[in-house]
């Protein structure tokens, strides 16, 4: 199905109008507006019949521009390579919208966030609790409305934290609020009987830094990549790339070929170091410190190389709207290739030794099972999805940068357990090595940056997905007039993956809980961007 056919279908079935003015009118991207009465029908058709995968929703306060709130649900069709934005306008007098969570369970968090941040109530949502805002944040103060200033600090107040009580006969084992083995703020309350986990409650979003608000009220277009990179401490480059691509799409900027290749190389370097980092931490969590020490030793040359290229131990500061700021000169190519050769040799040896390690296999095989159906239903992404046999990879399904010119395959394993997720990452590191070699070989000469002489016009939308080491990063941008976006909505992959953790933990062994959680490679800070939460076991809304 092409985007044109999709537009016609949506028009006929649900009176969906194509948006205007539209930065998304290129093959692979479509943006439509559906009125709120037909929204549920349209979502049901997309989700149940047309095979669309839910990404995220974004609420925008457009009362100045159009006198409305705008709710945008983003979807992806991976077989046909289509990204779809479904807009619904909401009357400020009656700020509510029918909730899509009963149809699309994966929309649970993002709809609660919509209520917290914009004040548009998803009617019929199964969970009335706050997601992002602190429990003592004042009622009727919605941070992402344009007339709420950036940087306000309401005084703290006493309040009751809505916590889920443990099931009868079980006791609570806390993992957090400072996650002990990942050293990040996340709070799992595990309900335990003996050594078995019978349920879990998640509370997160402690690490809100107001990044979206900052992007829409204080920063300018070219300052945002700097902040976007700091959404994550490990995979920053994916965020700045996704943001820049979204803005470039909105403004119709074509970036030079060489810049596309450089972005590809930066992203793959990042994937390699991230997967090595993950493997080390996974080893540490199952008490196998030798894995931690050896993989981090193997990872070190990647960091040195990044430092050589960008001045930072990770490739930061490379992206800018219109291209890249750092070049990869020919003199450095040999260094990169040498590093890759060494890493490949060591990685292959490691790969060979893992299946032979019976006690490691005893910890990984058959533990942390995420069934294929659950993975599809909750729209998990990245190695977490591919470890459960869901063959999605943004690099191939929705090509960006230079990926459409490189030869590679999706790494999919269908064991649905910790072992499969580990193997996916082991495979992907080898794929990354191959990708960088190809990119270096094919990279054309030329400029690395398109000069942008005119201002970026307001009122356009742009939307981009990037395959981060942890899964698909999505950035959605609505351009504005003051040299900054009206709304910028990043979604980290962990936002999608973390929602599936409580149902997955149920029935597992307590000893496996840390590795089960860590096998998703969660990045809590990425997910948090914002303020406080809870999450529950699935039976509450099933």
């Amino acid at each position: 199905m092409t985007t044109q056919e999709l537009a016609t279908q949506l028009q006929e079935r649900f009176d969906a109008e194509q948006g205007e003015p539209d930065g998304l009118a290129s093959p692979g991207w479509l943006s439509v507006t559906v009125c709120s009465d037909r929204l549920l029908d349209a979502i049901r058709w997309l989700w149940e019949d047309a095979g669309y995968r839910f990404l995220i929703s974004a609420g925008s306060d457009l009362r100045r521009e159009r006198g409305k709130y705008l709710v945008t649900n983003l979807f992806a069709q991976d077989e046909h390579g289509i990204y779809l934005a479904v807009h619904t306008e909401v009357d400020p007098e009656q700020p509510s919208i029918p909730s899509i969570t009963p149809i699309v369970p994966a929309a649970n968090w993002t709809e609660r966030e919509l209520r917290d941040m914009i004040g548009v109530v998803p009617e019929g949502h199964p969970d009335p609790r706050r997601l992002v805002l602190a429990d003592d944040w004042p009622e009727d103060l919605y941070p992402l409305r344009w007339d709420v200033e950036h940087g306000i600090k309401p005084p703290p107040s006493d309040c009751q934290v809505p916590r889920e009580p443990p099931p009868e006969g079980s006791s609570v084992v806390p993992l957090g609020p400072y996650f002990p083995s990942l050293e990040e703020p996340a709070y799992f309350r595990l309900f335990v009987e003996g050594e078995e986990v019978v349920g879990a409650d998640y509370r997160g979003f402690y690490n809100h830094r107001g990044i979206e608000k900052m992007g829409c009220s204080v920063l300018t277009y070219n300052q945002i990549p700097f902040i976007a990179e700091r959404i994550c401490g490990i995979c920053g480059c994916v965020h700045s790339t996704a943001y820049c691509q979204a803005v470039e799409r909105a403004a119709g900027i074509e970036i030079p070929e060489r810049a596309k290749y450089i972005r590809t190389i930066m992203l793959e370097l990042e994937r390699m170091q991230s997967h090595l980092l993950w493997l080390g931490i996974a080893g540490h969590i199952v008490g196998f410190d030798t894995v931690l020490m050896q993989t981090w030793r193997m990872r070190e040359p990647i960091m040195w190389l990044s430092e050589k290229l960008s001045g930072n131990r990770r490739v930061y500061g490379g992206n800018i709207i219109g291209g890249v700021r750092l070049d990869i000169p020919t003199e450095v190519h040999q260094d990169v290739l040498d590093m890759l050769d060494k890493l490949e040799t060591e990685w292959k040896a490691l790969y060979k030794s893992i299946p032979g390690d019976t006690s490691l296999m005893a910890r990984l095989r058959g533990t942390g099972v995420l069934p294929h159906e659950l993975a599809v239903e909750r729209c998990v992404v990245g190695p977490t999805a591919r470890g459960s046999g869901v063959a999605i990879d943004t690099r191939l399904d929705h090509p960006y940068a230079a990926y459409d010119r490189l030869e590679f395959e999706k790494c999919v394993h269908d064991g649905c357990d910790n072992l499969s997720r580990t193997l996916v990452r082991l495979d992907e590191t080898l794929v990354s090595i191959g990708l960088i070699r190809q990119a270096l070989q094919q990279m054309p000469d030329g400029p690395i940056l398109t000069q942008i002489d005119e201002d970026i016009p307001g009122g356009f939308e742009g939307f981009s997905g990037v395959e981060a080491p942890r899964g698909e990063v999505v950035h959605w941008v609505l351009t504005g007039d003051e040299n900054r976006p009206t709304r910028w909505r990043p979604r980290a992959p962990t936002y999608a993956n973390l929602q599936v953790v409580p149902p997955m933990l149920k029935g597992s062994q307590l000893a496996d809980a840390p590795i089960n959680i860590a096998s998703f490679d969660p990045c809590f800070s990425c997910t948090d961007r914002m303020e406080v939460v809870d999450m529950r076991t699935d039976d509450e809304y099933d």
Binding site: H284, G287, Q294
Partner: protein, 309 residues
């Protein structure tokens, strides 16, 4: 009378010797293994060899903070340390042990159990869920591992026709290796790995799961005593293994018999250290399954020993 006096002298000397080995060589050996086995296999520099001493000294000098008013927290560290030291005095360490004539296998097993029970009691006296889980795991592991230890020692006792360790050690050296003793040695090695909480059996204290288990609420001097006792316990087990199940060198003239013992200890420590480095932690129910097999194995060994093999 002359014989009595010289016997007394030997006892005093070995008393000092066993104390030094348990309290000082214990931490030192741990430091050596950390630096030259663990760190090398990790491609690391590793901490100084004397790091275990630095840790103990630092902890001993800290404020005595406590999270529970239970008297158990007062007494347990002392009881655990005392039980471990007494067990050390029963253990032949190259020479005849100072309490050789005063306690046998049965006393030793009870002393070891007292040390474990002390740890468990401390864990249970805290309100922390990690501590409770750690204590539960500790006792589960002990229930599975203690029979192995006992059966293996009984194998040696059967071979020597005595419950006294010195007789077992001499008997094993004189009699050479037999099938039953080989089996017992293997089972004893496995049991030791679990008794001293090394991978793959670092289950009770699992840092990334239960934050040190029973010890999570302890700090300062009390934690220091537990750590020190744990180093001493390692050397007691290693000595038991070296003296009785590696039958060589005990009949050499002093001080060569002591030298031989230290050499065997080093071998045991390096072996344990390597096994520790190349394994992840397994789950408690996997460990229990494993030790069921080991118990059966050691029972077979016992049967063979009774049958004279």
């Amino acid at each position: 009378m002359a014989g009595y006096e010289s016997g007394l002298k030997v006892t005093q000397m070995t008393l000092a010797l066993n104390l030094v080995i348990a309290l000082l060589l214990g931490p030192l050996m741990a430091g050596v293994v950390r630096k030259f086995v663990r760190a090398r296999l990790h491609s690391r520099q590793g901490p100084p060899v004397l790091q275990p001493f630095y840790d103990i000294c630092k902890l001993l000098g800290k404020e005595d903070l406590r999270s529970s008013s239970s008297p158990i927290v007062d007494f347990a560290p002392i009881v655990v340390m005392a039980a471990t030291i007494t067990a050390a005095l029963l253990t032949p360490m190259g020479m005849r042990s100072p309490l050789a004539g005063h306690g046998d296998l049965i006393v030793f097993v009870n002393l070891v159990t007292i040390a474990v029970v002390g740890t468990v009691m401390v864990g249970l006296s805290s309100a922390s869920p990690y501590s409770l889980i750690g204590a539960a795991r500790e006792i589960m592991m002990h229930i599975m591992v203690e029979p192995v230890l006992v059966i293996c020692l009984i194998v040696a006792a059967v071979k020597a026709q005595s419950l006294l360790f010195w007789h077992m050690a001499e008997g094993a050296t004189a009699g050479g290796m037999s099938i039953s003793m080989v089996i017992a040695t293997i089972a004893m090695l496995m049991a030791m790995q679990a008794q001293i909480g090394k991978q793959p059996f670092d289950i009770a204290e699992a840092e990334t799961e239960v934050m040190g288990g029973a010890f999570v609420e302890l700090s300062g001097p009390r934690l220091a005593l537990f750590q020190w006792a744990s180093f001493a316990r390692q050397i007691v087990y290693a000595s038991m293994l070296a003296a009785i199940f590696i039958p060589w060198g005990i009949d050499l003239a002093p001080p060569w018999n002591l030298g031989a013992h230290l050499l065997k200890l080093l071998g045991v420590y390096v072996l344990v250290g390597i096994v520790d480095v190349v394994h992840p932690r397994i789950r408690v129910e996997q460990a229990i399954k494993f030790f069921v097999i080991i118990i059966v194995l050691s029972l077979i060994g016992l049967g063979l020993a009774i049958g004279g093999y």
